[in-house]
Structures are given as structure tokens and as C-alpha cells.
Symmetry: C2
Subunit: 330 residues, 2 copies
DNA sequence: ATGGTTAATGTAATCAATTACATTAACCAT
DNA sequence: ATGGTTAATGTAATTGATTACATTAACCAT
């Protein structure tokens, strides 16, 4: 593989000039530029990335902190991140920390050791304080979940509006008893959705009833959805519609309701969240709030690229559009 | 961040000695070693990875070619790869090529440019010839799918045995009309499974009937499973059991059979492949051939690490164990 | 023509680790 | 004591790109 010195010799100029041409960072006569490009072409020269990274003291690696890959929600986000990173010459290092705070910290330590140039967090167990401190020294972007008002860049949808929108749709269909199935995870998105649910009810003149809100414990398991809907159906005044914070929970709720001989959507309307691919595999096809996962990933990476380029940490907040996809479960 | 020179000064020795200590590649007096380790500790020294990679001319990046992440099969494999790579100080660069041969080639070109040290292929559109040639110059491991007798290292399960095992189980239950639902993808695993199916039938004294084999087209869509089982059930002598090459297809087959008012497993026994997590979400829980996806990933990465260390390309073939998980669909 | 100004290009230091080769020290046999 | 041998350690080159600083050339105004 030819080096910059080879090219300099071939073109009859100095290495500095070659560097100027390939980096476009100083004036070079059109004439010499042509000579240089010619030599580069002839020798099939490609700058040695290792030497460049070393000299520039950047690793061209980004970190991605992710609960897991097996949830298709994350799988899609990660694909978006990965594609965008690759197109910009970055490689991604993933860590599925599964709630291990220390592992997460160790992983992020690679930023300090210059083993990575930036990080995207799809969720974190660590504190807001810790992250704010880290973000002062390194480019960090939060995706989906974030600390509000922490001054960290983040990309997400408006979960409040999304839930409110879904509930308005249900009240518009005439539903008055509307349940809400959520997880115990202390995610911001859950709170925002709950608030959207409450406010939409209030605006529709329906009084809030705490027992209509089911917390399923942590994680998003199908069986949790089944359990939750059973509890709701056991109420003196069971709901005629239910909003679930994930498609998997919604699928579980449908299964639980069908087990109880209810017809979907006649006896119970169900709305999910995410619009993951396999949710459409089953009947009835569920109505859901589509989250643009792939684009969430793309956008996070783009912001991170900017952050890494700029040096000065300007906080960017990007809110992508959700979409209520109406199918057969409502 | 302290450099090797700082440590040398602190310890009162030369940089060469520091290098010897941290790399364990030459004799150093216990005495001086202690001094050096002491200095390293005091200065919190960590070798500069960029300088090291540059000098050693290795990138510590590996490539992973993967059809997609959204299929939980791949998601699990990739997690195994990723975890193992990280533990050894490697980061992974993923490319979901979706059948784009040229994109795949461009991606693998990073090996030539020394932007990556090795690659794991979860499937490839490129030819055996191309890959053999590439593997002569760079460490390559194939995972799940591979070219038999191409001399490339690979990790997989024994798909022939797995299918044969599943069919023997079905014949053991008394089934004589057994269908096989597979995809049109030209994967080795599909052929091996088909052969296992045929041989197991023959050994059970059942003659092979081509119409009992349904090809679903490419990809593994739920709806393909539904279609396939419909075709099978429309036969003059419909099957009483069916083996599907993926859980998703099996789920589709179950749905299609239930739509036709068949009871599972009484009227139709169904076996899937993979044992992906969400397959257990639905009832009836399917009997399936479990593939150790995560370990497939771990093992591939371990072999790749060896390959990268050794330099000489010794081909390693690893076959991991499958397991027939009997649940409610048989 | 002279000096000043600017634009283009060249020279050589630099980044941090590795390592070939050189040097030193220690020990043993004669 | 002398020379030889070996083990431990040091010196300095090397890797390839970037870039501060130096040099050159060209042009213009006087």
C-alpha cells in the first residue's frame, strides 16, 4: 500500500502538499492539485487511517449503550446508528449492559482513554449528574430516553403528545373506560405517556381512575401484558379500551382478552406503541403508535457527528414525528 | 494522559523497558518490573491505543456482515460477537447488506485498507471463489452459513442431524405424512435440513413425496408460513405433521392451520427452528430445534481472534450442539 | 532595481509505542 | 586478571500523516 511519501515522490512535490490536497485545508494551485490527484490515482493511494487517527488523536469509534438487541425496537435504532456511522468512517462498539451500572461506567471509560470519540445512550442506569459531567468532556447523545433539562443532546419523539393523541382517538370512538398498561421502568417516556393519557382523559371530561393504570414490572414481556389485562378485566368496571406502552404488551393484552372470550376490537380496543415488524404478523393486526426507530438512530448519529466535529458542546434536541397507525385492534 | 516516556522517567528506566513490561515479551528483572509497575500505577498510565495500533499496524476493528438485526436470530448472534469482541479490545463494524453484493464488497474492502483486522460473515451474497481468495489474505470466519469444503473457518450446528432428529421424533410419534416448509434462499443450512428430512423419512420406511415440500420464497415471513400450510392442507393426502425451517414460519403454519379449524397438535404437529425468544410468547408454545445463537457468535469471534493472532490461516470448523425443545405444538 | 507583501510550497518536528541493534554488567572458566 | 558468554537494559530508528515554521517565488509599488 502506497504511503504519502510515495505519492509525493510520484507527483514531484512534498508530503505537505499531498496532505493539503487530500484534506482541502489550504490553498494549492489547480495545477499541482491535478498533479497530486493524478499521482494518487496512479498509485491507488489511500491515506493510512491508523496513522491519521494517531496523529489526529481520534479513534473513529463510537460507543453505543443499549439495553439489548433482541428487542426489535433497539435492533432498528442500532441499525440506523450503525449505517450512518459506517458511512462516515466510524465503527460502533456496542455494549448491552442489562442494568449493570459498573459495566456501563467501564464501557464509557473508553472515552477517557481516547478509545472512542463519542457515545450514544439508548438508556442508562447511571445518574443524570454522572452523565452531565461526562458530557462536559465528551460528545454524548441520548436517544429515545433522556434526562430532561440536563442540557444533553437528545433525539426522541414527543411521548406526551403521542399518548394524548392515541387516547383522543379512543375517546373519539366513544370509549369512556380506558386502561393504560405500562412498565415499572423509570423511563421518562413512560411518565410522559402517562401524563398524556391523564391529560387527554381530563380534556375529554373523563375523570382519572388510578386502578385503570396497570404497572407490569420491568421489561416488556408478553406475559406481563396478559397479566395486566386480566387485572383490568377483573375490575368492577372493566375498560373498553386500553393503551399499552409497547406492542409486545399489546399483543399480550389481546391474548389475555381473547382467553377471556372477549372480541377484539368489539369488546376491547387495544393500541400499542412502537410498530415493530413482527407485531403485524399476528391477527388482529394491532393499531399502534409508530416510532421511527431507524431514523431515531440515524438522527442520533448525525448529531453525534456534529458534536464531534464542533468541539464546543452545543446541545441539540431533535423531536421526530410519531404516527398513529390504525389497524384492526380498534 | 501520561505517555510511556513519562513512565520511563518516573521509573528511572528506558521506554524500551516499559514496553517490555507491559507486553511481557522479553525478560525483565523482577526488581525493575516492580519499579515499572509502580510508576505505571502512580501515573495511572494506560498505553495509547492509537499509537499502538498504528505502530503494530492493526486496527482492532472487525467487520460483521449480517443480513439484518431485526431477525432475533441474528440479533442474538451479533450480541455474542459484540460481547466477545469488546472483551478483547475489539470493536465491531456491522453492515446489513440486504443482498447488495457490491455494498458487501465495498465493506470488505476495509480489510485491504487495514481499516479492519478480520471479518465474520453471517451470510454472503458473494461467491465462494471470491471469499476463498479474500480469506487467503485476511482472517475470515463464517457463521451459521458457510461454503462446505472451501477451507474457510466456520461455526454452525449440524443442520442435517438436526432436521433428521426432528423428523425421527415425529415418526416416533407415529406420523407418516410429514411436510417440510422451507425458504428459497440458497443457504446451505436449508439443503442440509432438506437432506436430513429425506433421509430420516427413508430410514423410517416412508417414501419421499416432493409435494410435501413447500418452498416459501425468500425471507422468513409469517405470511409465508400461512400460505405454505394452506398449500399442504389442500393436498389429497395432507400432512399430519410439519417441520419448518424457522420459528416464524412455524408460527405462520400454526396460524394457517388454526384458521382451517385444525387443532394443534392433535390434527397437526408443528416443529420450528431457532427457538427465538418471542416464539414462546404465543400459544401453543412451539416445539423447536434450539440453535445456540449467542454461542455461535461467541465461538465465531473466538476463532477469529485466534486467526488474527496466528497469522497462518489454519482452518477451524466448530459444530455446536442443537437441542430439540419439546413443547405444546407436537 | 529594490523592498515589501502575499501566496504556494517545502522542511522537519511531532504524535506514542515498538523493536533492531548497541551497550553494559555480571558471571564463569581459564 | 583476561576473555568469552549471556542476560538486562538502553539508544535511536521507525511507522505515516499532520502541521508549525521556513523558504521560495511572484508580483506590485516605489
Amino acid at each position: 500500500m502506497a504511503t504519502i511519501t510515495d505519492v509525493a515522490r510520484e507527483a514531484g512535490v512534498s508530503v505537505a502538499t499531498i496532505s493539503r490536497v487530500i484534506n482541502n485545508n489550504a490553498k494549492v494551485t489547480p495545477d499541482t492539485r491535478a498533479k497530486v490527484l493524478d499521482a494518487i490515482e496512479r498509485l491507488q493511494y489511500q491515506p493510512n487511517v491508523l496513522a491519521r487517527n494517531f496523529r489526529r488523536s481520534e479513534s473513529r469509534v463510537i460507543l453505543v449503550l443499549c439495553p439489548n438487541f433482541t428487542n426489535p425496537y433497539y435492533a432498528n435504532v442500532v441499525t440506523g446508528i450503525s449505517d450512518t456511522a459506517r458511512q462516515s468512517g466510524y465503527s460502533a462498539m456496542f455494549c448491552t449492559t442489562q442494568g449493570d451500572k459498573q459495566l456501563e461506567k467501564d464501557f464509557l471509560d473508553m472515552l477517557k482513554a481516547k478509545r472512542a470519540d463519542g457515545a450514544i445512550l439508548l438508556a442508562t442506569e447511571n445518574s443524570e449528574r454522572f452523565m452531565m459531567h461526562l458530557a462536559e468532556q465528551h460528545p454524548i447523545v441520548q436517544c429515545s430516553e433522556y434526562f430532561p433539562d440536563a442540557g444533553l443532546s437528545h433525539v426522541s419523539i414527543d411521548n406526551y403528545k403521542a399518548a394524548r393523541h392515541a387516547i383522543r382517538y379512543l375517546t373519539g370512538l366513544g370509549h369512556k373506560q380506558i386502561g393504560f398498561i405500562t412498565s415499572n421502568d423509570a423511563y421518562l417516556s413512560m411518565n410522559r405517556r402517562l401524563q398524556g393519557y391523564k391529560d387527554a382523559l381530563e380534556q375529554a371530561g373523563i375523570s382519572f381512575s388510578a386502578e385503570l393504570v396497570q404497572y407490569t414490572g420491568e421489561g416488556y414481556h408478553f406475559s406481563n401484558g396478559v397479566k395486566a389485562i386480566r387485572n383490568l378485566l377483573a375490575l368492577p368496571k372493566p375498560p373498553t379500551a386500553v393503551l399499552c406502552v409497547s406492542d409486545i404488551l399489546a399483543l399480550g393484552a389481546i391474548r389475555g382478552a381473547e382467553d377471556a372470550k372477549l372480541k377484539i376490537p368489539e369488546d376491547l380496543a387495544v393500541i400499542g406503541f412502537d410498530d415493530v415488524e413482527y407485531a403485524t404478523m399476528f391477527k388482529p393486526h394491532i393499531t399502534t403508535v409508530r416510532i421511527p426507530c431507524y431514523n431515531l438512530g440515524v438522527s442520533s448519529m448525525e448529531i453525534l457527528l456534529n458534536l464531534m466535529k464542533e468541539k464546543k458542546a452545543t446541545c441539540r434536541e431533535v423531536v421526530l414525528d410519531f404516527e398513529l397507525v390504525v389497524r384492526d385492534s380498534t
